[in-house]
């Protein structure tokens, strides 16, 4: 199949890629600042702005509509900030309320539009769920310009945004205008969200912001690589989703992009080196038997030290049981220890460490000494 020859597909893929890059990169900062759901609120809150611009101007030109959307989203974040600062309503409640109330108001405006005789509102609904197939060249031009502007500002104010994400108080003590930076960051996020409305729609926008950052975070501990990887994941998911949805019939673009993204997140959560679930499981698997065996061996060793003259003085499981947590399966542990040649039976139900077991216990003590020092 000739993917790149298809004009529509090229436009859609380009638009989705631009969206993925901008949302992925900016999303990292939102993710680190625990503001992942701001994208969700912003995109819902954009609806009344879109509807108002259309009501006032009657035009569906991309730029005015995007400006209206951005303004409405921006006002919603200001409202959230005001409510959180000046009342005891918690942040998440304020966010959810702004999201639902703005969206509801947008719905009222949309129904007003639908009643107008000149109702050329058909394209407006596409903002709700996204309709990447309806993207035009001029849409993608505006999207690319805005996305590039976001990334340039991000690069220019890199240090400041880094400070904002990790240590706002320190930034304030340096005399940096942290509140204004916070406002600027929200503006950039608003722009990224607005870029995405036509492609993935209101509901799925939050995934475009959060998911690339979450996937990238598992792979690296540093900001710059995280942002680059997140942007790359965003581009990859955007383009892959666009291509898949054009190849397979009845596959809407927005949800497809989100599912590709979610798959990347799952892969990253499971397979990320060092942090990933698989890695953790392997490491725990290696540690767990040792962790269970060690205390019993150490107890036996400690008991044997009380009888320095008779290395074969044994101790019963009853003694060990008083030294172990309730419910510990001592029979199994002692069996394992015996199988590894660390302890041996020295009489009826009596156990003592073997010479190898002693050495192992002494090594453990040395190791603990190192950790302690």
């Amino acid at each position: 199949m000739d993917f790149l020859g298809d004009y529509t597909l090229r436009i859609v893929a380009l638009g989705s890629g631009v969206l993925g890059a901008a949302a992925g990169a900016l999303g990292c900062f939102a993710y680190l600042r625990r503001q992942s759901l701001v994208g969700d609120a912003l995109s819902h809150a954009a609806l009344p702005g879109i509807a108002l611009v259309f009501l006032l101007t009657g035009s569906k030109a991309p730029l005015p509509i995007m400006i209206g959307a951005a303004l409405a989203g921006w006002i919603a974040t200001l409202a959230v900030r005001l409510v959180v600062r000046r009342s005891r309503v918690p942040y998440d409640s304020a966010l959810g309320m702004a999201l639902a109330v703005f969206f509801g108001f947008g719905l009222v405006l949309l129904t007003l539009i639908q009643k107008r005789p000149d109702a050329a509102q058909a394209g407006l609904e596409s903002f709700l769920f996204g309709q990447a197939a309806s993207l035009l060249r001029e849409d993608v031009v505006v999207m690319s310009a805005l996305g590039a502007a976001c990334l340039v500002v991000l690069a220019l104010l890199w240090k400041e945004f880094k400070l904002l994400s990790f240590d706002t108080e320190f930034g304030e003590s340096l005399g940096r205008p942290m509140r204004r930076l916070d406002g600027l960051f929200t503006l950039l996020l608003v722009v990224a969200v607005v870029i995405g409305l036509r492609t993935v729609g209101v509901v799925l926008m939050s995934a475009m912001v959060v998911a690339p950052a979450a996937a990238a975070r598992q792979v690296t501990d540093r900001l710059a690589p995280m942002v680059i990887i997140a942007a790359a994941i965003g581009v990859f998911s955007g383009v892959t989703g666009a291509v898949l949805s054009s190849v397979i019939p009845h596959l809407p673009t927005g949800p497809t992009i989100v599912l590709v993204l979610s798959t990347v997140v799952v892969i990253s959560l499971v397979f990320a080196p060092k942090r990933g679930l698989l890695w953790r499981w392997i490491r725990l698997g290696r540690l767990q038997p040792a962790a269970a065996l060690d205390p019993v061996l150490m107890h036996l060793y400690a008991l044997s030290l009380q009888h320095p003259e008779e290395p074969d003085h044994g101790h019963g499981l009853a003694v060990l049981r008083t030294m172990s947590p309730t419910g510990a399966d001592l029979e199994r542990v002692i069996g394992d220890l015996e199988a590894r040649g660390l302890v041996s039976a020295v009489g009826e139900g009596l156990w003592a460490p073997t010479p190898i077991g002693r050495r192992e216990a002494e090594r453990n003590l040395d190791r603990e000494g190192e950790v302690g020092s």
């Binding site: 309503v89 918690p90 998440d92």
Partner: protein
């Protein structure tokens, strides 16, 4: 009942049913879970719809509610893995679930009555068309019966588990310590939220569910100091907002769900401004009152400092006070007026002198500072 009144009844019952669990969501700072659940139930609804071919089947309700609880389990598993913070976990899980739902619909159900608009936006205006009939008797709209049942169940559960819910909400560790199983309470609450969201989605759409679950309790949170009154107020606010939104929608002929959500926001905005103790206006008045009170004390300190000294004739002249204290003239007048009104100072010719009460207060202020 006319269709309009039936719509109002459905709206009020839904609003009250949502406000009950919503109160706990707001207090537990898990309000966004309502957003997540109300979106994530979509695949559950779709699959159950494929199986039953009936949007009003109870199987649908159960399947979708189970999906909602599953969503919460998934989000919490992500949080517990400590790989992803809480807000990001929510933001990853529900769009993925919603996407699955949308794709299922557009691939397999494009020709049946089930579209994403309806789920997301709801259309209350159509709710009276679905009737519950027994034999030939028309018992009213189905939505009224289903939401009424959910409201009743919510209310009964909350009354039965009042103590447990309260304790698990305000102090989860104490609840665990006392053997109250906060986890059971938590999942019980999440089930309640899911069932309510599912029951409401058909009539009012998932976005209005979010507005109804969060805004009335948040409004009540500004007005009440105790859980019982807060819940009562939340219920009253929910019913009032539903009625106002309904009336506005009828008058303007616009989306009823959107109008109710807007009314919820308006009611919150009004109480955010005007709440007797926590409102913006009350805060501003309290602050200016404190400012005036502080200025009166400063005036008294100034007067006491110069009382009985030779320069008192200059320092304590009423028309010269503002320059000595470094205040604007109008403000000084207000402060002196306030002090006179509280009988802390009195005029003596051109001078302002402290009364006995004023002397006490001024001394207290100075002693307070020297602490």
């Amino acid at each position: 009942m006319s269709p309009e009144l039936e719509i109002l009844a459905i709206a009020v019952v839904t609003a009250v049913a949502a406000a009950l669990p919503g109160t706990y969501l707001v207090l537990r700072r898990t309000a966004m879970v309502s957003d997540a659940i109300s979106h994530a139930i979509l695949p559950g609804i779709v699959v159950a719809f494929f199986l039953t071919q009936n949007l009003n089947s109870p199987v649908l309700l159960v399947a979708a509610a189970a999906t909602g609880v599953f969503t919460v389990v998934l989000i919490e598993a992500l949080i517990r893995s400590r790989l992803v913070p809480e807000d990001a976990s929510i933001g990853i899980v529900f769009p993925a679930m919603f996407s699955i739902g949308v794709i299922l619909i557009s691939r397999h159900a494009s020709n049946v009555h089930l579209d994403t608009d309806a789920v997301l936006l709801g259309e209350l205006a159509y709710a009276p068309f679905q009737r519950l009939t027994v034999g030939a008797v028309d018992l009213g709209p189905t939505a009224l019966w289903s939401m009424g049942t959910i409201l009743l169940v919510n209310a009964v559960l909350i009354i039965l588990a009042w103590k447990e819910l309260k304790l698990a909400t305000v102090d989860a560790s104490l609840a665990a310590l006392l053997g109250f199983q906060p986890l059971v309470v938590h999942y019980g609450l999440m089930t309640m939220v899911s069932v309510t969201a599912v029951g409401a989605f058909d009539a009012v759409g998932s976005i209005l569910v979010v507005a109804l679950m969060i805004a009335p309790p948040a409004t009540a949170y500004l007005l009440a100091e105790r859980l019982g009154p807060m819940m009562g107020l939340a219920v009253a606010v929910a019913a009032a907002a539903a009625t106002m939104g309904w009336a506005a929608a009828m008058a303007l002929d616009v989306s009823i769900a959107g109008s109710i959500a807007t009314a919820c926001g308006a009611v919150f905005a009004v109480s955010f401004l005007l709440a007797p103790r926590r409102g913006l206006v009350a805060q501003a008045r309290r602050r200016s009152g404190q400012r005036l009170d502080f200025a009166v004390r400063m005036l008294l300190v100034h007067l006491l400092h110069h009382e009985g000294t030779p320069e008192a004739t200059e320092e304590c002249r009423e028309d010269g006070l503002h320059s000595h204290l470094g205040w604007r003239e109008s403000w000084t007048k207000r402060v002196v007026g306030k002090a006179k009104q509280r009988a802390l100072v009195e005029e003596s010719g051109e001078l302002v002198l402290p009364t006995d009460t004023g002397r006490h207060l001024g001394n207290d202020a100075v002693i307070g500072f020297s602490d």
